[in-house]
Symmetry: C2
Subunit: 308 residues, 2 copies
């Protein structure tokens, strides 16, 4: 069984959408990534940090899905990272109302011994210095390192981010971030420039408009599943990344062909995430539901055409 190490936030979220609002609930990039990746039956561990206020039942939720939480440091006299956001009516844009870094402000990640030989490494959206610290702790390079990041780090820590980007295999960012990072409006050209920064594969997430996978001249596209109802987009990008790396770790195959399938697997998982508030849908998702919806993806995208 492949080992997958996930670095990222484990957090409290408070979410408001046009359909309602939550109290303080479980959130964070590593939470969503691991809930998604754990569907693929890999040996999956998290490196993160929380405060003494973080409920043991939340850790148990993760453990119940066979997610190893030994690498989640608990700072007993600290408070857990908290994010509060409000989505606009189109659900495509949101305002961040509160970001309390708390214990995240001085996070020194420590990779548990048992994951120093991880086969796959997923660097969730975090300060690039934290991402780099994890890369440096792992003595033998993993088969594939996937990086998720965002415009905030491009704005504020670009030199450190570029150092991380030079060391990884796959970068996942959204279309605006790809444009910002490359200075190119065309996503094809943006991907070309980002390849030159290091990553062999560039994944551009377009939310409800699907995702593109670039591999030096080759390109693959998977749509998002058109849904009757989108309830809460929080965590969809992380869930996508978790499904992507989860599928790769399970199949232990880093070919372009298999990365295509991984993009579909990620889009599939993300389509569930948005159906309920927070992690609720992902906590109760079954293999049968996942397989049924994969069939819908096939029907959505496959066609026959005669090529002369």
């Amino acid at each position: 069984m492949s080992k997958l190490l996930i670095v990222g936030t484990v957090a409290f979220d408070a979410i408001e959408t046009p359909f309602g609002k939550t109290d303080i609930i479980l959130g964070g990039a590593a939470t969503y990534i691991s809930l998604s990746a754990s569907q693929f039956g890999v040996d999956c561990g998290i490196v993160s940090v929380v405060g003494g206020d973080f409920p043991k039942e939340y850790l148990k939720k993760l453990n119940d899905r066979n997610i190893n939480t030994d690498g989640i440091e608990i700072i007993e006299d600290g408070k857990t990272f908290f994010w509060k956001g409000k989505y606009h009516n189109d659900l495509n844009t949101r305002d961040t109302l509160i970001t309390d870094l708390n214990v995240l402000a001085n996070f020194n990640p420590v990779v548990p011994k048992n994951y120093l030989d991880t086969d796959y490494l997923m660097l969730g959206n975090l300060h690039p210095a934290v991402q780099m610290a994890v890369i440096k702790q792992i003595p033998i390079r993993p088969k594939l390192v996937v990086l998720d990041t965002m415009n905030f780090w491009m704005d504020n820590t670009l030199p450190e981010l570029l150092e991380v980007i030079a060391k990884i295999d796959v970068i996942t960012i959204n279309d605006e971030e790809a444009r910002q990072l490359s200075g190119e409006y065309s996503l094809v050209r943006a991907a070309q420039k980002i390849h030159l920064m290091g990553p062999k594969y560039v994944v551009i997430k377009k939310g409800e408009h699907g995702a593109l996978l670039f591999n030096n001249g080759d390109v693959f596209f998977a749509p998002a599943l058109p849904l009757e109802e989108v309830f809460d987009p929080t965590g969809a990008g992380d869930t996508f990344a978790g499904g992507f790396i989860g599928h790769i770790a399970k199949t232990d195959d880093i070919s372009f062909e298999n990365l295509k399938t991984a993009i579909v697997a990620g889009s599939n998982l993300a389509s569930f995430c948005v159906e309920k508030f927070g992690t609720e849908r992902m906590e109760n998702l079954t293999q049968v539901e996942i397989q049924e919806r994969l069939l819908q993806f096939k029907l959505l995208t496959q066609f026959n055409i005669d090529l002369r």
Copy 2:
């Protein structure tokens, strides 16, 4: 050989994009639709109107591609419809600077005798009263009637538009128009409501984000081809519609399976249209180029996944 009748504007355009501007050039929905559909070797005729100022060489351009222009009425003392527009930097939005209806203001369409038995009817974006007048002139219902329309007619002539929508088989509109027409934000729900207005098939065009085909519960998606360079989006939607109906007319098959392929054929043709200003790219497009790019569409979207 199937007959395809196309109703729509034949016009003068003046276009400005971030990459340059044109003089007054050949434009109009029926022009783009027919240039695209004529690639499929069908017997294709236009119903439209132009003024005495319309150059004979423009008509010859169409005739050279085997497009029958007998149904293009020439009002010798009138002026041809003129549209001038300027695209914003993202190329997704534009301002209309001039719309001179001219001869279009009093257009009474007359279907040439030779096309009264047309197999397929494509109603390009025009006043719904003109679209209805053409429907009423055709004594035997065509195998498939496709309607393209836009928000302007929803704003200004909704009752007449709804009468047309009740009589056609396929409607092609963009995502915002689908939302406006249905009052639903979710495109899945929007399509459900539009089905109830009449059309068996609902095609939702999302520009650079591809196109969706809905058929009462079934859905298919084709992406737009990611391009290094988009030069001028003018006519892309019409070119898409022309490729869509052109493929259907050529194969003479109105099954859902074949309509999927038609969506891909339309997206393929549209990907060429945007590469140069106006109709330039479509006038010189070859079958070899079309077939080569179809292969790219296959590579872009096809994947293998094990379903248990």
